[in-house]
């Protein structure tokens, strides 16, 4: 380490070396420039805006001239009775997603793997991947054509069978279930891909040995397939925990209506409604910051726990 040993030499020499090295790569810097400019402007510049959470921001004053109010936006946020409702909704949806939305693709992948008719498997995959490519707007529209009172085919069927129409879409009791089913419908099939790949990577000798030992199919799934895909499951679970409060912003925004607001307001919709619709920028920023920090904490905590348990984390 010449630079460390000759620390008394002018520091300029180190930078001169770096500069020479950089000039060698000038074409590569030039190529990266548009993307670097993008990340600086659209990803890092808005982070200054997070300071608004500590202001009482109005757009009529310049940024630094706004009133600095310390953490009072946060105390106001926590004392808002609606905050508790929103937190409950977000947590409920997050837990439901972890309990159902997360394991279903794993189960589905194992089931697909047990299918031995390749044509059936291929067609099944083609069909269950499809909803992933459809926008949330179309998904919401399809839900209306399924469940709405006047044009939903479920209601048409109920009427056809002589029953009374059911107001699924404005019923607060079934809102969470509807959101969960919608998510499963759209993404569970697509979610199988990564587990199918993990299963395909398992050494077939393990299964052959198990067959020799007389293990049943269920036994083989529990003792071979699941343990072998556990690392994949763990990594995806950590990533999922890092986005624990991302419970489907566009989706819920589209399915929200005044009658279900009590159960349909989550962090993102609250930040959006307060911050952009009502123009209370500082409140919106405070809510968003709170949510981002919790996500980051969850990611780091789950990664640490997983590493302590002896598995590999995501970083």
């Amino acid at each position: 380490m010449p630079t460390a040993a000759k620390a008394y030499k002018p520091i300029g020499r180190y930078w001169l070396k770096v500069w020479r090295e950089m000039r060698k790569y000038k074409f590569f810097y030039l190529l990266s420039l548009p993307a670097l400019f993008y990340f600086a402007l659209f990803r890092y510049v808005p982070m200054w805006g997070l300071l608004m959470a500590f202001q009482d921001y109005t757009p009529f004053k310049s940024f630094w001239n706004n009133n600095w109010v310390g953490v009072s936006q946060f105390t106001r946020m926590f004392s808002d009775p609606f905050f508790a409702t929103m937190l409950r909704n977000t947590l409920a949806l997050a837990l439901m997603r972890l309990a159902f939305f997360f394991p279903i693709p794993i189960a589905l992948a194992i089931m697909l793997n047990e299918v031995r008719h390749m044509a059936f498997k291929r067609i099944a995959q083609t069909v269950i991947y499809f909803p992933h490519f459809i926008s949330w707007v179309v998904t919401a529209s399809l839900t209306f054509f399924t469940l709405s009172v006047d044009i939903g085919f479920v209601n048409k069927m109920i009427v056809f069978l002589g029953g009374e129409q059911v107001t699924f879409l404005v019923n607060p009791d079934s809102f969470w279930a509807m959101i969960l089913i919608q998510s499963i419908w759209k993404e569970a099939g697509w979610g199988t891909i990564i587990f199918m790949a993990a299963i395909a990577g398992i050494d077939t000798q393990l299964y052959e040995a198990a067959v020799v030992d007389g293990a049943s199919r269920m036994r083989r799934i529990i003792s071979i397939t699941l343990p072998c895909i556990m690392p994949t499951i763990v990594v995806l679970l950590i990533l999922r925990l890092g986005q624990i409060f991302d419970v489907g912003f566009e989706q819920i925004l589209l399915m929200q209506n005044p009658l279900v607001r009590e159960v349909a307001e989550i962090f993102d919709t609250y930040a959006y409604n307060q911050g952009i619709v009502q123009g209370q920028f500082s409140v919106g920023v405070a809510v968003g910051l709170f949510k981002s920090l919790i996500g980051l904490a969850f990611l780091m905590a789950s990664n640490t726990i997983v590493r302590r348990l002896g598995s590999e984390g995501v970083y």
Binding site: V18, E21, M22, Y25, F27, F28, Y29, S32, P34, A35, Y38, F39, F42, R43, P46, M47, W48, G49, M52, L108, M111, E114, I123, V127, I128, Y129, F130, P131, F133, I134, S135, V137, V138, A140, S141, L142, F144, S148, D150, F153, K156, F160, L169, V170, G189, I194, Y207, V211, V235, E250, L254, N257, I276, F281, G284, V285, G288, L289, S292, L299
Partner: protein, 290 residues
Amino acid sequence: MEGKFSIGDAINYLVIFIFGFLCIFPFLYVFSISFTDPDVYIPLKFTVFPEKFSIRAYTWIIGTDSFINAMKSSVFVTVAGTILNLIVTFTAAYGLSRKEMPGNRLIMALITFTLVFSAGIVPNYILIKDLHMINSYSSIILPVLTNAWSLVVVRNFMLELPRELEEAARIDGCNDLQVFARVVLPLSGAVIATFTLFFAVAHWNSYFNTMIYITKSSKWTLPLLVKSMVVDSGAIGYAGGAGVGGDQKSVPQETIKMATIVLSMLPVIILYPFLQKYFVKGVLVGAVKG
């Protein structure tokens, strides 16, 4: 392994079949009703196949200015957005593929950080407003010009390319730009195809940014039009779309809405065989590193 078809197999096949059927049924239903002839259409009557076939709902919606405008906007945003996505992502992925370049690790760390932490909805909105991009299509193209995940995946691919090929091209007298254009890009064909589809589908389906940044209904893209026609009137049961007005007595609302949805999905349906193939590849390439 074993040849016989057990009860377990039967249950397994049945569950997969039901799940698959539920995935596809709403599409078949919408598709079928959209072709119902207005003369045989009866509200609240449950039908799966139209008694009389007609494309009048389609000719009606294609005849409206709002649909044509939305279609044009969607095509413009998707084509322009995807081209810019590809340029910015692939140049940067190659540019950052020299690990020994000073600052590379710092730059990659800063880019990866945006995967786990973003400023949030409000600061982004204020930035777009301060840049005077509201109601300009730049507001829905530039904020998603590239993204950390795509950049990392494409860069990983570029890192795997054998350096010897580039060196050989240099010895043959290619300059840096020629190496990139004539050696690196031609070798990236499959990755370019994958990401073209990723970016195009994302633009075509994009909703939230368009909703908050494009406030003039004359500049709406298809998702906004569909939302105003179907979702805004859907939950409560009020029939009437803000986006489409005019005489609708001759053609029922329901079939028009369904025809609009089918048309808005058309490019995705046509491209689906390619989408499936390349997307699966893309997901697996991305999965290699977390």
